[in-house]
């Protein structure tokens, strides 16, 4: 029996929505971690019952939570009464410290602040957790201020992959409105050594050696809000997506412009086409059709709600440029919600399911690849992230 599990992170806790393969009747579990911001939750492709959650608070900082039973129970890895070999208490699951060691790290540089002055790197929170495709104990974490960390012990300890922050362009990175966050981590399913990350506002980066060394991949991006619109870094990339059958083709929603790369990010070209606005946050790819792409246009700049009071998903079946509005079942008047960058996902059931969550607390789903939509829940706290697990 197949089914789906939807992991929803909100401003005030986590929710888990489950249904069988028909996706008609939903069970809602939560709030988990009530009162905390859950920036992201994601399950391990290697063990679907292994879930990780990023739990944060302005008062109490960062906590990493882990579940080994599909979200029924949770623990802070290493947070129990265990001790290390030298007798010190363990429990470093929420310890994210930039690597400054001369052997593996780089001296901490500064990065650009909003006003263009240099500013020290400061850890704030984990934006995104990306479990390994093959090992349930290995997870990558994208953090603010932007850096990439990895655990290989199920979240007990985290180490920075310092080659990204330290490769040389760091002093030119700057925060976007949401902070200077590493929000996208894509693992190439055909090449274990290749991975992509994206940072607001620095751009996209690729590693071909498992995260040891990195290079910017922003050629073709054009951003009028930086002094040199075609600079090597400084672009406010909002989200990147790929289809697992064709991982060298990337789709990007940038702060203005929807972009595509056919050469693993070496070059990009615009595919915004007939979209009502080329600003937005989410972008995702159909589970079975690598040329079918979804975006949700949002009004810029500080308005950040859907245009004309109408919530519409746009779908291109041609890999961009030609987009159709999908509105059946979505509110078409007096709607002023936003959909944040980690808040769209697809399942891989026979008829691809598409899911997204809004700042108004709705989680919508389509069981027919976007042709029609229905709300699973309407009144959650503001949604920060949506991930979907297809259970078989």
């Amino acid at each position: 029996m197949s089914g789906v599990r939807v992991l929803v992170g909100t401003r005030k806790g986590a929710f888990i929505l489950t249904a069988d393969g028909k996706r008609e009747r939903w069970n809602v579990s939560g709030p988990h971690f009530a009162g905390w911001e859950i920036y992201h939750m994601k399950g391990s492709p290697a063990d679907p019952n292994r879930l990780y959650a990023s739990q944060t608070s302005g008062w109490f900082g960062q906590v990493i939570q882990r579940s080994c039973d599909g979200g029924k129970t949770w623990e802070t890895p290493g947070g129990g009464m265990t001790k290390t070999a030298d007798g010190m208490p363990a429990g470093e699951s929420n310890k994210f410290v930039y690597d400054t060691s001369p052997e593996t790290g780089k001296p901490l540089t500064t990065h650009q602040f909003y006003d263009g002055t240099q500013h020290p790197w400061e850890f704030k929170r984990v934006w995104h957790l990306e479990p390994s495709l093959t090992d349930p104990d290995t997870v990558y974490a994208g953090i603010e201020d932007a850096a990439l960390f990895r655990t290989s012990d199920g979240g007990k300890t985290w180490q920075e992959l310092a080659g990204l922050r330290g490769h040389g362009t760091g002093p030119k990175w700057q925060p976007g409105a949401g902070g200077m966050c590493l929000h996208t981590i894509l693992l190439d399913p055909t090449n274990a050594r290749r991975m992509y990350v994206a940072i607001s506002a620095a751009g996209a980066f690729r590693s071909d050696d498992g995260g040891k060394t990195w290079k910017p991949i922003n050629r073709g991006l054009r951003s009028q809000y930086i002094p040199d619109p075609t600079a090597e870094v400084g672009h406010c990339v909002h989200r990147i997506a790929l289809h697992r059958s064709r991982p060298g083709v990337l789709f990007m929603q940038k702060h203005w412009d929807v972009m595509r790369s056919d050469d693993a990010g070496d070059s990009w070209h615009e595919i915004s086409g007939n979209l009502p606005t080329d600003f937005g946050f989410v972008i995702d790819v159909h589970a079975h059709e690598p040329e079918t792409v979804y975006v949700i246009p949002i009004k810029s700049d500080s308005e950040h709600y859907v245009p004309d009071g109408k919530l519409r998903v746009y779908r291109s079946r041609k890999g961009g440029n030609e987009w159709e509005a999908l509105a059946k079942g979505l509110p078409q008047q007096d709607c002023y919600v936003n959909v944040l960058r980690d808040a769209m996902a697809v399942d891989s059931l026979d008829k691809c399911g598409v899911y997204f969550g809004t700042s108004g607390g709705q989680v919508y789903m389509s069981a027919d690849a976007g042709d029609s939509w229905t709300p699973i829940v309407r009144d959650l706290p503001a949604v920060l992230s949506v991930e979907v697990q297809t259970l078989r």
């Binding site: 109490f60 947070g79 310890k95």
Partner: protein, 98 residues
């Protein structure tokens, strides 16, 4: 026995329902209380003070005996009533909306 009262979110995180009781040698200070608290409840490390610098997180405060001890040195001996267990040591979240 030193009595420590945690804010509700940290009690949930540490899986404790009421105040925490800790055995601490003298001198009893804020630093020694937090050391003992984090040793017993490792999941609280990083939530009250920074992992590395041990600086207090900005939105947290410390009270005892109806006094605000937030800005005292972490190594200042605490009042006798706290040391004797007559009064608890409070860790509080600063009042703020959201």
């Amino acid at each position: 026995m030193i009595r420590v009262v945690l804010p509700p979110h940290l009690r949930t995180l540490a899986h404790v329902r009421d105040e925490v009781q800790l055995e601490i040698g003298s001198p009893v200070t804020r630093a020694s209380i937090l050391d003992a608290l984090e040793a017993r409840y490792p999941m609280l490390r990083g939530t009250i003070r920074d992992h590395v610098t041990l600086e207090r997180r900005p939105f947290l405060r410390f009270f005892a005996c109806e006094r605000d001890l937030t800005h005292e040195s972490p190594d200042t001996p605490l009042p006798a009533a706290v040391v004797e267990g007559a009064e608890p040591f409070f860790v509080l979240g600063a009042i703020a909306g959201g």
